[in-house]
């Protein structure tokens, strides 16, 4: 998947839906299913909550909203395994790290290991990608709250 696609991603269709990581999420192999929860005012962020362990949540952000002109290279074989080689079928999220530091909150993304979600069959996978210039931009971005 080499093309960028900032055009209307069907990310909205995942709201309150369960996505499935067939091999679990790295570091959390027992957690295969996550529900994507999002209040309208939280866009482009969302919560990804484990179905089997509701005490486990991750903050995620729509990659294409986090950084413009974002590009991602994923092996076609990976996409094939996930059920579609059409990039338009995929939503891409970065996992977000929220940290408290000296009474400030910082929000940073983890762009080298994005989450791919096939929005048609809701198959999800975390892939490791090499950093390119757009991903470096994404990594450098930091929100201070």
């Amino acid at each position: 998947m080499k093309n960028k696609h900032s055009e209307n991603l069907p990310i909205e269709s995942l709201r309150n839906k369960v996505i499935e990581f067939p091999n679990g999420l790295p570091g959390f192999p027992a957690n295969r299913e996550f529900i994507m929860a999002q209040k309208p005012e939280e866009r482009p962020f969302a919560w990804m909550q484990s179905v089997s362990d509701p005490d486990l949540v991750f903050a995620v952000v729509d990659a294409f909203a986090w950084v413009k002109d974002f590009m991602l290279e994923v092996e076609d074989s990976t996409l094939q395994e996930m059920g579609s080689i059409d990039p338009r079928d995929y939503a891409v999220y970065f996992i977000v790290r929220i940290q408290e530091q000296d009474s400030r909150t910082t929000v940073k993304a983890k762009p080298n290991s994005p989450l791919l979600v096939n929005v048609r069959n809701r198959q999800a996978r975390q892939v490791v990608v090499p950093l390119n210039s757009s991903l470096e931009k994404a990594e450098a971005l930091c929100l201070q709250l």
């Binding site: 005490d55 991750f58 903050a59 996992i95 929220i98 290991s113 201070q144």
Partner: protein, 82 residues
């Protein structure tokens, strides 16, 4: 862990259909050639370990997450930046 010694050009086999050959050794770096069926998922494991760590660091408890409505704040801050 099973430990084997191989010279450059020698290989090991996993089952019948996976073969790993030592192609070159240069100081601390070893080049490996891997022959395996397509369905076998081959990848470097270091990034995988980093991803696990990064995921563990990013994991949150829903109470901390919900009570502060932190993503709403992040969303409006993101809009301000643009």
């Amino acid at each position: 862990m099973l430990v084997l010694s191989r010279k450059v050009g020698e290989s090991i086999k996993l089952s019948d259909d996976i073969e790993i050959t030592v192609l070159a050794v240069d100081n601390q770096r070893v080049r490996l050639g891997i022959r395996a069926p397509r369905h076998i998922d081959v990848r470097r494991s270091t990034p995988e370990i980093n991803v696990m760590e990064a995921n563990r660091e990013a994991a949150m408890h829903p109470q901390a997450a919900e009570s502060t409505s932190i993503l709403s704040k992040a969303a409006s801050e993101k809009k301000k930046q643009e």
